[in-house]
Subunit: 156 residues, 2 copies
C-alpha cells in the first residue's frame, strides 16, 4: 500500500473508479483555506467532464475563499451491510464560471434541487489530482452515524 491510501488496510481506487464514485453522489465537503485556517463546507456538486461544478451565493465566506489557492473536495459513502466504505478527494483550483454559454451548459447539470437560498455563482473545480481509497468500517452503522440516524429520525 502506498502512503497515499493514508490508512492501514485501505485500498487505492483507480481514477476511473474515483470518478464513478463521485458521479453516484451529490454531496461533498469542500475544504478551503480562509483567514489562516482551513474551513469546510458541505456542498452539492455535479461531475462535468473531469471537473466538479457547484453553486454558491454571492458574498459568502465560501465565495471569498475561492481564489488562486487550491481547494479540495471530498465525498464518501458506505455500504451498511458490508461495511465497505470509500472516500475520494479531488484537488485543484476553483474558479467562477463567467461566460454565459458556460453557465448555460452547466445549468443543465444543476437541475437537481439545492439548498434553499439565493445562489447565483457557479464554481468549477478543475482537478489537478483525484485520489480515492476503499476501506472497511466495523460496524458501519456505528461508524457512519449520520447516515443511519437520519432515517430513524424520520420515524419520530
Amino acid at each position: 500500500m502506498s502512503n497515499d491510501a493514508s490508512l492501514p488496510g485501505a485500498e487505492h481506487l483507480q481514477p476511473h473508479e474515483c470518478w464513478a464514485a463521485l458521479r453516484g453522489v451529490s454531496l461533498g465537503r469542500l475544504a478551503v483555506w480562509a483567514d489562516d485556517h482551513p474551513d469546510i463546507f458541505p456542498v452539492n456538486f455535479t461531475v462535468d467532464h473531469g471537473t466538479l461544478v457547484f453553486r454558491t451565493g454571492p458574498g459568502t465566506k465560501l465565495a471569498a475563499a475561492l481564489g488562486e489557492v487550491p481547494v479540495a473536495m471530498e465525498a464518501d459513502g458506505v455500504n451498511p451491510d458490508t461495511g465497505v466504505a470509500w472516500s475520494v478527494v479531488v484537488k485543484g483550483k476553483a474558479g467562477a464560471i463567467e461566460r454565459i454559454e458556460d453557465v448555460l451548459d452547466t445549468v443543465a447539470l444543476l437541475l437537481f434541487p439545492w439548498e434553499a437560498g439565493e445562489k447565483d455563482h457557479f464554481i468549477r473545480i478543475t482537478a489537478d489530482s483525484i485520489t480515492g481509497r476503499r476501506f472497511t468500517v466495523a460496524p458501519p452503522r456505528t461508524w457512519w452515524t449520520p447516515l443511519d440516524d437520519a432515517p430513524r429520525a424520520s420515524a419520530e
Copy 2:
C-alpha cells in the same frame, strides 16, 4: 445574518448547540493543509470536554499533516422529513496525546468501533472556535444522497 453563516437562509447555532450536535454523531471530515493543498479525511471522533479526539495510524499522511498548522473538523446531518440540516465546524490546533494518563482517559472515550487497521496515535483538537449553522435543503433525500443511498444499497 452575519457573514459566518456563509449561505443565504442559514441560521447560526449557538456554541452549546454546536457541541450538542457534535456529541450526536461520530463521523466528521478533517481538513488539513498538506503538500501545498488542503486535504480532507473522514474520521471518527468523540467529544471530550471541549475538545475532539480521534485516532489515526502511525506514518500516515494524516499524521504527517498534523502539526502546528491549524485544522478544521466539520460534521453535519439532516432530518430527511423536514429537510433541516446542520453543519458545525471546529477550528483549532491538533496535537498528539502523549502522556499515558491522558491516553488512558481518552481510551475510555474511544471504545466505539473504528475503521479497521492499526491506529495507535491519539490526536486531540483543541477548539479555538466552533461555529455552526442550520439550513434547509429540499428535498433532503436528493441533497443528502449518500445517507439515503446507503440503506437502499443494503436491500440489494
